[in-house]
Symmetry: D4
């Protein structure tokens, strides 16, 4: 049995593995992130190394903070080994490099989550917004089964420039918050729940049908996407 | 071309058409209803006639009020022709015979509906509960996009023995009401909405995943079933 | 590699983790339960501890029995360690604290389950009803493939104030029981089965389309929700 | 604007339209049927004419009864015009040619249907079995909401060689009948119902998950297929 | 046959019909809109009249522009009759009252649509953004099958404060535009297409999985919701 | 931590665990089988023991062969320990007790399977038919990608009284075989395949839409159900 | 009531309506087609006119044949009025301009269709291949229920350079043909069928899971797409 | 406990296991491949051995390269043990025997993949095309989020005879590439992504609705099928 050679990876390069979009920060204002899930360890390490090499070489624009999302513990450890100074948030499954978030600017991003089990996704949104440069706040467990909890946050809701609502099961919090807010609401359905929650399809559909206008929705469990969009919305805050 | 004879219908009988469950009121406490949708006019008329015949013949227990549900205007007119004294509610698409609801007993059934377009289904539930013998109240357009509307009904919610929540789109009202109520909540998702509302599947899933316990769900647009169940729940009110 | 600090948990508090709805028993008559599934061990332990602390502190209304549902063996053990006197039912995957159910009042809740594999969900419903204060009975393996089994229970069905039917596969038991009963029926579809059972969607749809009125449905495998609703229905029994 | 010529149809032939499987009766024991739905009037008339021509020409084996299924009134009339002696059953939407069913042989096919709205599909199955040569019986409106109705038919069920169960909504009748019968049960889910009946998917799934063995299922509303299969099963009665 | 009286509608009031959220403009900054689809003509007319009455009575804050969305031609005509000065856009199926859009402020909303058949939805978004106070631009038929069409708009894309992408079928335009833009992108999947487009579910799923971050999605064909959200995003432009 | 006692199991009895349908063989001609999947080890062992006890006690009709289906290796071993003389087929995941199949009678059951990966399900059908008393034949890997394979079996197909077709992926074999056969065809879709095979939904739908009449379908991977039905069909062979 | 002006359409131009990809023939070898379905009559007529204008103006490359697909009779008539010399095939719902197909070149495209009701889609594929320059053959009604029909075409199959298989229901013909052919097979599932055919999803899934390699699939009923692809495949014959 | 004997496997034969289609290369031009997934180790080893035996015996046509697809590491090792000279590509999960690809002929197959996580499927397509005799090129990570990446490949796209596009999530690359190419595009949706990617259904639907003609689609993750089809298309290059 001979094993065929894996895709060649020339010194420091990414040929046959990836074509990192190093120009994205210049083009769009925010750098490319790396979705760790689904990548082999070899490929991920090669990408992390290329990011580090690019950053330390001359003549390029600064990359900004590179986020590694949905990282397993092993993946996170491997990335942190390649990129000294990276910070790992195990609850959010995210690695940020360099670790410290930039000085915040723009309006505030408010992340509200319906239940304790939604915290990982909510943290991912909250950290993303911070790493993309916004002041951000996180409020947990304000689901509509006890309406007083969200009503107690009305002032915080009114002050935000962009709101992220993270909820599984019935996803009802998105409609309720949008009905109270003047800022745009980004809904993040989560896979929290079981049975007819259908791995997050139930809150996804619920949020897409929010009876209050001013809600748009990202993929199930996509805290990164919501934080990114909220940071864009709040940029001119 | 010869047309084969339709199923034979002996004088006054229903052979080959239906086997009406005349014993249901004795057995379950509530009589059988007739779902008009999907029945041919011939079959429906034969059933209405058999109901009238049975009622006027001796030696049987009283039938109670017979409801004809989801009746098209033509079907309603035909039923009313067979059963003098029947009353037709065109919004609810329901015919009741005899027309007047019985004297109410038991606890109050409260029907809350989220939007104006949900009124037909809500009325069906409200009328059913009345015809099955309960005092019933109907409150419309209290969707969560303007939360003050349902919060203004907290006392009414507290006083009810059974609550029916009728909502399409996000179906969020069921969770919000259950979070405020001690009485059981029967959720009725409606086909109001479009696109990802999926003809009522979105609020159905949302209500099945209500984050507040105390909610159970009936079929999409099934106002009759909800009113029936609420009447049973409130019986000992 | 530095690990970012997890959400801060001040002494005895739940900040950043949960906002327990301690007022629910006063507001709704039944206390909040804790869905263990999907929560990290840290978060779950913090919640259990806060429940214990609240209970032993002065000046609050009594909490009532707190149920921890869908608990893995590890989670159950951890909760029991925090809350001495708690009782764990491993089949139902439920921990109750305090352990003994209150003195029963109201009408009887009858839980019927179609097959042996439905027992875990049926027990969850049965125990919930007891812990919320109702007398409750459990009857197993009375699926419609051998109709004599459910027909032998007609008297028990007639005597109940609320009936929970737990069934997977075809979910046919709900329609059959509702056709025999005057009490409301709460259907609980289960994920028992394979292939076209679609993890419980088949019995869910079947029960939503029950040809006998008087059935409402909760989420797949949601024994807790069914027991809660049945306890509410039977309260004035 | 010139209209391109339609597919050529040589005198009496079917070129470019169909390739009728005239050998099927010899090969399989039962002749090919014609599904009218979806065919243009021109194509259908050409097929009916070819059937007539084939039958009146010499040197071929007899065709047996040709059934035209799911025929609209217009289609039925056109077929009957081409094939004198054909008989149209408007409820079953079927045309049979020649009209009289053959002398029955083999065991009895029993068709049971759950509700009045299922009669069209049940009749299609019942007529098909007769035209394929079996003695056949039709029993209507014996849904499980009133179990006494099907229990009154136990002897008829025991005497049948093949049973067809036609039901919409919960489809529960299939499981109940199979639990009582020694003969094979062919389930026909119907599109009767609304909302979560999903145009017949709910009873389809329910029947596929019948908790009693001895049930197999055909397509939604496919009375023809069920009658065909039942005739095959009962052939050696 | 007596027809039961419809829900009472006291002079000028909306009791039993609607509970218009007149405070929404004050609370959220944008007034409530009226979804015409699914409402009876009587109910719709009553709502339009109440809007007119409220506006002409003293002592209330100004309502702002009231939009009537998804209006059939008959509905549009009826609304215009009640509200002199209203303007109807038949392609967008929208009525605005008062007709003229307010003086634009904030950043520019850019609406891009993939094909000619998407124009009705795109116009709905474009008009909504204008009526809620933003400068807005509409670009049609720039689908990715001819990539040069969208690449010719790069400057326009760079100048926008909020972008709405309207596309059916593969929904690919959302990803492509987001990859070029720094402004947030609101995706509107449309029901344009057939077969596996599944009435808009295909582009809905495609947009939810946009490989470029910065996209959030509203309901299928929901041009109003997209225009509303884009107006909120561009408010501080 | 105290563990609540599991459901009580009186000596030799099944109370709280199961209500075995010992009368099924007398009523239906075939005994009840035990679906192992989803049962706890304790419950399964108690059922096996009760079967053994019943069999060795006097005054009962003979049970016939009891089949334990979808048994994991551990479950199979436990059942065999309780029931000496039982035989385990690990490929079919089935235990039969007593082990030897009865003397065959009736017509032949022919099981055809499309691919090698379908063999476990095909064997389950083949063994079930044998244990229910029919002569049975098994033919593997005759999928339609190489049509000569099934065409070589035309004589075997013509000789069978009942045919079971086991196929995953496109499920096309069912239509092809039915087009060649006069005997009824029972289709068993399997979960073999990946992606758009949707765990067996693709061949399930394909078989339900078989263009040749004479096919009915059982649940995905339900070899037991297919073998049972085929044995019933071939009984009078 | 004032009606807002529709999107402006400058003389002969398409501004606000479409941005016709006149360069596609040069870029891809085949011109853009016009999907009529979903376009307003005004928009369609404007596009047809622009096509005519472009063709008669100087200095452009020739457009090639422009196909208008899925045209209703009214739409077809309107297009033909704008473009003298256009030819309409009402069965295929297609208008071609100019009418005569170009001189054929390349290999032969063979279109096989399973049933008579599939002819409209099959004709659309067959005409498209001809108008894009290939010799093309059409064979109808060779479904696998009578396998001799397709086996009689083995030589024709062997001689083709590209094969289009058009089938509804079980879609089994695609696998069978691919198993016999060396040329690539393009599968076109059709919406022919009912119930579990799910408007063409059943054959779509079946073809995607074809057990014979060498099959790829286009959208349901997409005869145009299949003919286009087959013409590309057969180009170098 | 006695274990029943497994299906008999006569010396070197495959009876009861498989009926290898050794004639496929002669009939179709390409030999049968072996899908390892879902096969037991015993069955797979027997097949590999039979392939080896056939090859070394006289009087048969050469088999061509036999591919073993979707092989787990254990399966791959077992196959390589039976077939000396086989080569294993662990990323593509493929074993080829004999190892070296044949001398390339025909046109070039170009495989484009959208992201790094799509590489395993892309490699499977690329290797399959090579082993079936075509020159093949692989380009990775050219997703549309950075459009410059695919635009840089326009010449390579123009030179290809067949193009395979491998993409998960939005699947948008297929439409974009088809809009630029004259060669046929085979789309391979992948299960890369999460949540609403629905295990590859999202890109599958997106590609089926590609707004550019010239795309056909194979099963999710089916790199083998795409490579096979592309090799067929490019055969006459």
């Amino acid at each position: 049995m001979r094993s065929q050679a894996p895709p060649s990876a020339p010194s420091g390069g990414l040929e046959g593995i990836a074509e990192f979009d190093f120009g994205r920060a210049a083009r769009r204002g925010y750098p490319e992130a790396v979705l760790c899930e689904g990548k082999t360890m070899d490929h991920l390490v090669a990408i992390a190394r290329a990011v580090g090499d690019r950053s330390s070489s001359n003549g390029h624009e600064p990359l900004g903070t590179i986020l590694f999302t949905r990282a397993s513990p092993d993946q996170a450890e491997a990335v942190c080994r390649e990129l000294p100074g990276a910070v790992h948030d195990p609850v959010a499954r995210m690695v940020a490099w360099p670790g410290p978030a930039p000085e915040p600017s723009g309006g505030t991003v408010l992340v509200l989550c319906a239940g304790t089990a939604d915290i990982p996704v909510a943290r991912e949104a909250w950290l993303t917004a911070q790493h993309l440069g916004r002041p951000a706040e996180l409020v947990v467990d304000v689901g509509v089964a006890g309406l007083h909890r969200v009503l107690a946050r009305v002032d915080q809701i009114a002050a935000a420039s962009a709101i992220v609502v993270v909820a599984g099961m019935d996803g009802a919090l998105a409609s309720v918050v949008a009905g109270l807010a003047s800022a745009p609401v980004v809904g993040v359905p989560t896979s929290v729940g079981y049975g007819a929650a259908l791995d997050g399809l139930a809150p996804l559909l619920s949020m897409l049908n929010a009876c209050a206008p001013g809600v748009a929705v990202v993929n199930i469990d996509n805290g990164y996407g919501a934080g990114h969009l909220a940071a864009q919305i709040a940029a001119s805050g």
